[in-house]
Symmetry: C2
Subunit: 494 residues, 2 copies
């Protein structure tokens, strides 16, 4: 998911000393490397997550050698949409959400105010990773996180102002923001699906109609800032009619505020009529997984727009059984992840998936620049592989950090499927030529007759499409019939 308005602020972040990182290679040479093969775990709590940004100078929370298996807990930044179901009684989640007055997370967003939105676990430093290398991340398992108090898992689909539905007239009534809470259910045979539980609505959009029509545009430092105290433990909840300071005066903010803020449902809007209306097939995946991009050593990068190093791709194929390849731009790679979804269709239409806390298990392998296989040479976009397909990512701006100045313009200029289509075509064409020795004309014909272009997301500032390339096409002479991956539809996990 995205948040655009605040994200145009790019402020220096001085929380971490760059010099402190120079000791890391020594760590790799001693204790860590000798433990190769060890299984690592990175639990999520206030000290192991960063909120709303990637940052090349952030202190690693875990150091692992190539070839390691690592388990990572990911906490949804939408847990505040129903704190009773998704926060209360889970110590790790409670720890993360007790920000505000205490602010026990050093910085909450790129500017210290929350430019981006995702709770990202990490970063993980991979020994020997250097710019020009490629990091391979195999997703071995994804498991919904059950609340230890209730034994249940829930997720939130927030149809908020950044969703596509605000770009075209509503069919009924006034424009409104509606959050749907889903329960995650696992059958005895292991099938996972989501059942809609209830909805609640921010119906009064008079004071705030979203980025296109806002009468009082919130700016950095307005919502929420350190004047807004919302620690969960104090029951001081963010809610409609709560006064929000605005740079140019005061503003009564009545809409969906900010992922990560505890939400007090607008009085009386809970609507349970959605129960029993439909059931959602699960396709557990990771919305935001990426390496720190090379930008400026003292400047963090917003977590919302996707990057060459991955990040907020919101591609529902990044699930169990898939392998992700990301180009390394900084020492150690600095892998972080979060924004997990129990389910999402291609487009992430209304602004979010079913945002759910999920724990993943991964195998992380480093490919050195000098020994890259042809499929990874010159990689300048996130590449995904599953059992039966290669999958190319493309965006309105392949690298908005270098193509736009200031980069924050991406939220206005990158909201285009037409631009993203050109981007993904060029990535796919170039990859087919480089990895498979096709001429340009051969690549164009193959893309046309055998490959599928699909919409990843229309909500992350830098809109994205993908191309699925069946591996079958290169198995010339193999007489097996082509079988698309089970996860080619919105399916249960393989």
């Amino acid at each position: 998911m995205r948040r655009a308005v605040l994200a145009t602020c790019w402020v220096l972040l001085g929380a971490v000393s760059v010099a402190a990182l120079t000791a890391l290679p020594n760590v790799c040479k001693t204790s860590v490397v000798t433990e190769s093969g060890k299984k690592y775990r990175l639990a999520a709590n206030a000290s192991t997550v960063h909120w709303g940004y990637f940052f090349e100078s952030l202190k690693p929370r875990l150091v692992i050698p190539s070839g390691s298996e690592v388990t990572v807990e990911m906490i949804t930044h939408h847990a505040g949409d129903d704190p009773d179901k998704m926060i209360k009684g889970d110590p790790g989640v409670e720890d993360i959400y007790k920000w505000g007055a205490s602010m026990n997370i050093p910085t909450r967003g790129a500017s210290g105010q929350g430019d981006g939105v995702h709770v990202l676990t990490g970063p993980i430093y991979v020994c020997d990773a250097e710019p020009g290398d490629v990091l391979q991340i195999q997703i071995l398992e994804l498991v919904p996180r059950k609340n230890p108090r209730t034994g249940k898992a829930y997720g939130s689909n927030a149809a908020a102002w950044w969703g596509y539905q605000f770009r075209t007239p509503f069919k009924t009534g006034k424009a409104r923001e509606v959050t749907t809470i889903y329960e995650v259910v696992e059958d005895a045979d292991g099938a996972v699906y989501a059942l809609p539980d209830y909805q609640f609505t921010y119906g009064n959009t008079t004071a705030y109609k979203g980025p296109l029509t806002a009468s009082c545009v919130p700016k950095s430092g307005s919502i929420p800032d350190s004047n807004v105290k919302v620690p969960w433990a104090q029951n001081n909840k963010f809610a409609p009619n709560y006064d929000i300071p605005c740079v140019n005066g005061r503003q009564q903010f009545t809409g969906y505020a900010y992922p990560g803020v505890l939400t007090q449902h607008p009085t009386g809007t809970e609507d349970y009529s959605i129960r029993g209306k439909f059931v959602v097939p699960a396709n557990l995946h990771i919305g935001n997984i990426g390496l720190a991009p090379k930008f400026k050593p003292a400047e963090a990068v917003n977590s919302i727009p996707p990057l060459p190093t991955g990040g907020n791709m919101d591609n529902r194929r990044i699930g169990k059984g898939a392998t992700l390849y990301l180009p390394v731009q900084v020492a150690g790679g600095l892998l972080s992840m979060g924004d997990a979804h129990i389910a999402q269709g291609d487009s992430e239409f209304d602004g979010t998936g079913i945002e759910t806390s999920i724990t993943g298990r991964f195998k992380v392998t480093l490919h050195k620049k000098a020994k890259l296989p042809k499929t990874l040479r010159g990689l300048n976009f996130p590449l995904l592989e599953n059992k039966n397909e290669w999958h190319i990512h493309g965006y309105a701006y392949g690298n908005y950090l270098t193509e736009l100045n200031p980069p924050g313009q991406v939220f206005a200029k990158g909201a285009s499927l037409d631009k993203a289509f050109e981007g993904v075509y060029r990535n796919a064409r170039d990859w087919l030529m480089s990895a498979w020795d096709l001429s340009e004309d051969q690549a164009i014909s193959l893309l046309t007759v055998a490959c599928d272009f699909n919409v990843h997301q229309v909500v992350d500032g830098n809109w994205g499409l993908g191309v699925s390339i069946p591996k079958y096409v290169f198995r010339v002479g193999d007489k097996k019939r082509y079988k698309p991956a089970v996860i080619c539809g919105s399916s249960t996990p393989v």
Copy 2:
């Protein structure tokens, strides 16, 4: 596929008498209806196809009652790309391609000049069909048409000037048009795939660089017109350096001319290096299948831009096992079809699929307006159903014939994925509300978390996207796991 430049001409077509059609209901009441259950066949030849248009006043070539099974031969309009392989020795195809001097097809395009491009077999008049009804077309079988002389089937993928690759710089060399000829292969176990045979190239694009940069734009009456004699039997082939009259002077046309014209390969450009490079999984489908739209009784409608009544949807899911629902706008519906593909990926990127002559078998059922099931009420777009999904079509202009004046503007204004995305969203949202009693907010969440948006085509003037809606979501309480349709990827036919 599309062709834009000529298509802006909308000329009266007086070839068929409207009055002659009034006798049809009587036909239905007598001989035809009493044959209900009979299996019909519509062979393709010069007298059973119309070329480049839909037309409400066209004389039906077949009259059938609802519930009939009908076999229809479809001939590719790209057979001229390799006449030896795709025309010679097949009497039906030869008959169709012997136009030109003899012009034994009354009109070749909407204006009599070839505004549209598709060879469409039909129209088929369905008894009792009236405006407001919905026609259901089940695709029972699709079989590639083998040339009786060679026993083989071939197809053509023409990467011509209307393809997307001309909208962005080529990576290597100058912009060029490359046609790839594919052989269709069927294994002993029934698996069907396509093998690239060779390519040929129109390399000199100096005189003609496509619609965006043409120095001398061809207009109606220029290429080809009655001054250009290209009957196959006379070996008078259209080729580079062939003089083409231009309205504002003469023009040496050196590019891909027109589907339906016999192509003499530019000397020495045949390139066989593509053999063995890859294999294409087949997904036999129909690119263009639709009913005559209600427009003007004496004016035909270009066959290229897709319509509420279907037409040139170029959706690779319109294959065996799928059922298409089209709203009836004129008496009898007037069903026509062509533009069959042995394979195509989502986007039809370079301008065409693998264009192949295919014979289809269908069951045609009429749903009367007064007794429509909820899924078909108020239908104003083509709706597709397969075993596991509903599929919604949407376009930059839902009905460009009524939204644009003149309608030919669609080729300039409709070339936008961003517009098409808005169109398909609104169709899907409205259908979910109407067919499944969802509120708007429920429909928005369901579309986001369970449904996939995919690119159908970026080459047909009126660009199109689709949304796949799993039937699973409405089987609340059914504990079966969700299985996406086998044809959700570029797959072999089910």
